[in-house]
Symmetry: C2
Subunit: 197 residues, 2 copies
């Protein structure tokens, strides 16, 4: 049974994905050719197609999955504080994580592709749903602790507010990518003050 083979295969795939992400981040998905990946990886076209028969698109999907997966993991890890976090604090935590993992400009490109390509959109939307649900859960906890500010139904309040609160994440990523004078730290610091608290 090919146990070693599987490990090797996964390692090689991971290696290629790593290179792909860095190239996509630097030159963009559309402008990165297979030849670029060959050069940057030191491998050959044959090696790449051997591991990713679907070619460039499959590679992009794989790269996207990898990036998005770490987002999910981090989210799961952040759960279970003792005191319910306010909406702004929830987002500050999430965005600090996004900031730490420097995927550069891959996320906006990913969103752009997702709005065209159904397969990529499926990936992205799954993550959006996850994030939204997680945010909603945190907001619900906080709402339960602050009925005076949120009304009688914490769960409904959380579900209603989650999409807006979640928007702070793409807003951060985009403004960081677009604006030279964007102040990342100030953005994160402002979060707890601008949402209800």
């Amino acid at each position: 049974m090919p146990k070693v083979t599987d490990e090797y295969r996964n390692a090689r795939r991971g290696e290629i994905i790593e290179v792909a992400i860095s190239q996509f981040a630097e030159h963009g998905y559309a402008r990165t050719s297979i030849a670029d990946l060959v050069t940057a990886s030191g491998l050959s076209a044959g090696a790449i197609y051997g591991n990713f028969p679907g070619g460039k698109q499959e590679l992009f999907v794989a790269a996207a999955s990898r990036i998005l997966k770490s987002r999910r993991d981090e989210l799961a890890a952040g759960a279970g504080a003792d005191r319910p976090l306010s909406p702004g604090e929830v987002m500050a935590t999430l965005i600090r994580g996004i900031r730490a993992e420097n995927v550069g400009s891959v996320l906006p490109q990913l969103w752009g592709e997702a709005s065209i390509d159904a397969e990529i959109r499926t990936l992205v939307s799954a993550v959006f749903r996850d994030l939204r649900q997680t945010v909603a859960d945190r907001l619900t906890e906080w709402a339960a602790a602050h009925p005076d500010r949120t009304g009688a139904d914490p769960s409904a309040w959380g579900a209603r507010m989650a999409p807006v609160v979640l928007s702070a994440a793409p807003g951060f990523v985009l403004q960081r990518a677009m604006l030279d004078d964007f102040d990342e730290v100030a953005y994160i610091d402002a979060l707890p003050d601008i949402f209800v608290h």
Copy 2:
């Protein structure tokens, strides 16, 4: 003097841009070939290159400018209410405008391109700055009317909060593009409640 010629030229350019936007929205920028534009417009390759010597990229820039311009115009129009709007109300107004003009999935694609292409980023970032400034101005007005909730320096408060508040716009556009179950109206309704008010 070629007065008629200029009008004609602009009309033709506008016609082509119109077709380009609709094609980009439907099939994506990368996947739209000049041949597609030829087919969809009923014109010829020569006509397109005659009006847009820079080819596909110039066409995308022109399309982006057109879309972004209407965003700016609308912003300017919305100014000058008598009572200062709360942060959430400011964004509700802005997002209703975005929602009305159905540019579909072109904005996420535009952001994706902007994170790669310097010329497009210049366009987009100018609009982001405009929007941010406008939002900051409105927030400052509101802060001046509510020093108890915002502190002693309304202008500083407005500038600090604007980037986060502004994030609701890309958040809306993205979630609408990605999520089948996204509730646009609920999003807009939630805005005035989730930001400080």
